[in-house]
């Protein structure tokens, strides 16, 4: 619950900023996917169930600010969380390079999952090429953003855990 109360408002503020300020000042550059970055962070540091629910809620939040059909991003971000949480046991989540590495893989996975779901379920079959072609630039933007957001995420993670992040997941 504490994780939700910390990361949900943060994600809301970031989404409002990127839908208003980013599009006004940097219209030619794709928006960073801040919700995905928070989900990746949760995948490394949050308990499985609480993190999963939080990722689903963040996805639903993103659905309010983006897209046409409610549930699209919720499903994708939950999938990304499950994958990240699964792999996080093999990786050192506290290494500063792990989250940027996960961002590269996560951005690609997000795009591929989006394309797959859009092709399988909806009639937006023209958009797949646009999504695929935007991956390299999106990775660059997300990498810069994750480097800028990492201190804030770590700080919120510590507040949410009330203990060092290393021991957070072991105790959960």
């Amino acid at each position: 619950m504490k994780l939700f109360l910390l990361f949900f408002p943060l994600s809301t503020v970031l989404l409002v900023a990127q839908t208003t300020l980013w599009t006004m000042f940097l219209p030619q550059i794709p928006c960073p996917n801040t919700t995905l970055l928070i989900t990746l962070y949760l995948g490394f540091h949050a308990p499985l169930l609480a993190g999963g629910l939080c990722a689903l809620a963040l996805g639903f939040l993103l659905d309010v600010f983006s897209g046409v059909t409610f549930g699209f991003h919720g499903m994708i971000l939950l999938g990304i969380f499950i994958l990240t949480a699964g792999f996080s046991r093999q990786l050192n989540g506290d290494n500063t390079l792990t989250l940027p590495f996960a961002t590269i893989i996560g951005t690609g996975a997000f795009a591929l999952m989006s394309v797959t779901i859009l092709l399988l379920f909806s009639d937006r079959d023209q958009v797949w090429l646009e999504i695929i072609s935007s991956i390299p630039l999106q990775i660059g933007v997300n990498l810069v953003t994750v480097l800028a957001l990492s201190p804030l995420l770590s700080c919120l993670g510590r507040i949410g855990a009330k203990q060092p992040l290393n021991s957070f997941r072991k105790h959960s």
Binding site: T12, T19, T35, L56, L62, G67, G71, I82, S122, Q138
Partner: protein, 272 residues
């Protein structure tokens, strides 16, 4: 062993959640556009923030362009140019006012042309992702707006409302891949469906033998049930007529410049 079973249980719960999310998405995809309680709540809570950020930023930009730049220039120049700068500042302000006046006048004139009641609204934010084409406006159900209402600008069709809260609504632009508008090629009266491709418009189901030329205007046909007849959608930029087959391949450029869109009109039909 107990830890392992516990982990499997949690994974199972997450997988069940994932399947529920999939079913929810699938259900929403097949049902009529509507705004659920969660969406309404988030839109209501974030609307003042979005509106505040947008208004403040636009104000600061205007202040910067109209005043601060001039102050800086004024400080850099000597006294011989002071009078010239004052006149220049007035000229720029007048130019801005003239442009604004013209834009609002066009909007008002357009409003008079439209038979239905039109609600003016301001664009307050864009879509959070890059491959969806939606915008958020600062009017909602409290102004009489509901889902599936046509949204237009002075130069043509913008899109239709898909999510509505009390004081804000999300509008699906005609360039979005899931948008389809019943259309006519104005000169030849060829019927087609204007579908978004993400950045421009593709005209589907235009019969191969019907006439279509580059530069022709594309207008709403009024048969789709959402848009009134005769509103400009765009102009044809590419026409390819195959030797065989049923349909032509036609591309069109939207009449509205979405990157500069600030004010729109939501058309509320009389019977609604």
């Amino acid at each position: 062993m107990r830890d392992f079973i516990d982990l499997q249980k949690r994974l199972f719960v997450l997988l069940v959640l994932f399947i529920c999310a999939l079913l929810l998405y699938s259900y929403n995809l097949r049902s009529k556009p509507s705004t659920n309680l969660f969406e309404r709540s988030v839109l209501v809570l974030t609307e003042p923030l979005s509106q505040g950020v947008t208004t403040t930023t636009r104000g600061v930009i205007t202040l910067w362009q109209d005043y601060l730049n001039l102050v800086r220039v004024k400080q850099e120049n000597d006294s011989l140019f002071r009078e010239l700068q004052r006149l220049e500042r007035i000229h720029i302000r007048n130019h801005e006012l003239t442009a604004e006046n013209l834009r609002l006048k066009q909007l008002l004139e357009f409003r008079e042309q439209v038979e239905e009641q039109a609600i003016p609204a301001q664009v307050i934010s864009a879509d959070a992702m890059n491959w969806f084409q939606t915008i958020t406006i600062n009017k909602g159900t409290s102004s009489g707006i509901s889902e599936n209402m046509p949204v237009v600008a002075a130069s043509g069709v913008v899109g239709r409302t898909i999510k509505c809260a009390a004081n804000s609504s999300r509008v699906l632009l005609i360039t979005d891949a899931s948008s389809a508008v019943a259309a006519l090629i104005q000169s030849s009266r060829t019927r087609t469906v204007a579908r978004g491709t993400g950045y421009d418009i593709s005209c589907e189901f235009a019969a191969r033998l019907d006439e279509a030329s580059i530069g022709d205007y594309l207008i709403t046909s009024g048969t789709g049930g959402v848009f009134p007849k005769g509103i400009p959608i765009g102009t044809l930029t590419k026409v390819y007529t195959p030797e065989y087959g049923l349909f032509q391949t036609i591309k069109a450029k939207p009449a509205v410049d979405f990157s500069r869109l600030e004010e729109v009109l939501v058309i509320v039909k009389k019977e609604q």
